[in-house]
Point group: C2
Chain length 350, copies 2
Amino acid sequence: MSSDRQNSLIYPVILCGGGGTRLWPRSRKAHPKPFLPLIGGRTMLQQTMARCAEPSLFAPPTLVAGADHAPLIEEQVPGLGATALIVEPAARNTAPAVALAAARLDPDAIMLVCPSDHHIADVNAFHAAAKAAAGLAHGDWLVSLAITPDRPETGYGYIKPGEPLPGGVKVERFVEKPSRELAEQFLAEGGYAWNGGIFAFRAGKLLEELARYRPDMAEAVMRSVAEGRVEGIRFHPAAEPFAAIVGESIDYAVMENTDRAAMVPAAMGWSDIGNWASLQDALPADPAGNYAPSNAELVDCQRVLAVSDGPRISVLGLSDVCVIVDGDEVLVTTRDAAPHVGKLRGASEQ
Amino acid sequence: MSSDRQNSLIYPVILCGGGGTRLWPRSRKAHPKPFLPLIGGRTMLQQTMARCAEPSLFAPPTLVAGADHAPLIEEQVPGLGATALIVEPAARNTAPAVALAAARLDPDAIMLVCPSDHHIADVNAFHAAAKAAAGLAHGDWLVSLAITPDRPETGYGYIKPGEPLPGGVKVERFVEKPSRELAEQFLAEGGYAWNGGIFAFRAGKLLEELARYRPDMAEAVMRSVAEGRVEGIRFHPAAEPFAAIVGESIDYAVMENTDRAAMVPAAMGWSDIGNWASLQDALPADPAGNYAPSNAELVDCQRVLAVSDGPRISVLGLSDVCVIVDGDEVLVTTRDAAPHVGKLRGASEQ
């Protein structure tokens, strides 16, 4: 590994897809999670961009998004470079989206794939992990920037660690959402990490592995890019070959198949803000564990989240509850039930 | 007691005062409980009027209300007779309000004082009790149409029964809001009843007893009526003497002092709809105990009340909770805490 490679910049690839129905009613189809200021004044996308803006570490970013959200991106992230925004002709999950970006980069470029709607409290830890992951990616490892678990969460995929690598660990195998017992066992054993959906790849290596395990997808993506057209900051891959792709996540299509999977475990205060309870966990709280704006009143409440786009919220005598007021929708959910919000009629019929 | 008296009509006196902050935010100062359609399509006042409209039993009603609410009354209860609406020059609690109406009636008229914001499920039982109470009132008893308790409620006043009377019971004494232990003891002993604020008096006897125990108040009311003026359906007592009255409830001013207090116990499905939980108890419920309009969705909920003036309410995983959406206010309270809603900032600052 040359020192030139070690010092080369990392190319952020920011994925802006996803519906985010579990943060309904604040998150809606036309205005999903990446584009909302859920924590602090900036939107999740703006915070993701800011994390990847350190000029000593990162090259200018590439964003991948659906056509519906391109105007939102141009509004929230002004000053993007030419062709920095790849507009997906259709929603086909993360593997094709990542491959589109890889195909537009130099094969030797190290790309760091980042969802645009995750929260990372410790940006320094993120930068350190990204640097370590880039080092492994230079050596043609496909690297998950994996999250050090702090609880036996059953909603995430786990990664079982294998042999040590310089700056990381080889992946032994991926374990999809485990049972509570299994998750507790993982934590007790140690070394396991959550697959957080943040990856470092050498662009050429990613495409090589995709071609090995999903040759049709790889070919369709390459054709779609070859026949694409430029429009200012937007790059439009050709729609016809892309639409024919059978959608699949990068995890299923590549990471769980390759024998070059590695991980860099990172304790960086990560959350995917997957539901109102996890957003609550990422927000500050008063001594009773409540979070509420100034025009709310919580009396005899513990661990209550109250978020409104206008009306005052008054809560009396409740614990472990999230109250969300947004336009013509009012949601009241227990923290335990928060992951099921996406199944509500309001969330699904929008 | 002559048969003529027995057959004479009862004069309903409907009291339309009170703030009703415990049903905030639906109930507001400008639009309090009597004027809201909380149960069914008609307002509480309209239902009270309908209960007292049986022509074989009742004479035309007299209403007593503040000037602020006179237009609401004229809108909700069209067709009132001349001077049927007595406009209180100032809010001075129920004793002066009742006395105003008594002073406008024939001294031998039997008046039935009814709050305008109570719910009575069994109207036949109400009529039967009113008839019995009127019989006692003809004999110069001051009669509480008392509620047969169905639970050891601590929020109401209790009446201890004394010796039997024809059609009722002499009042031994009034017991203000008792402790839980005491309330349970009352229920176990039997015969105790709740003081529901519905009274039958011979108008002249009520004024006589008021003059005995509150001579200043009685005199001020008589002066105020003597110097009052008529304006269509409204009668305006003179403001100056009335304003000087120290406000007091009819219970304190007369009922707890007189030795002529009697009660007619009535099991008539009564509720004072004193808070959201008691409203919920008076509303129908689905098999899970929930009550929600068609544009609400309750999932894994038990005994949840969801009431909205527009926005959809979605509730997930909660039990024994009331969710109220009204204009710029959203209230979420446990059933247990519902009596304390009036102390919320929103309820008190309106």
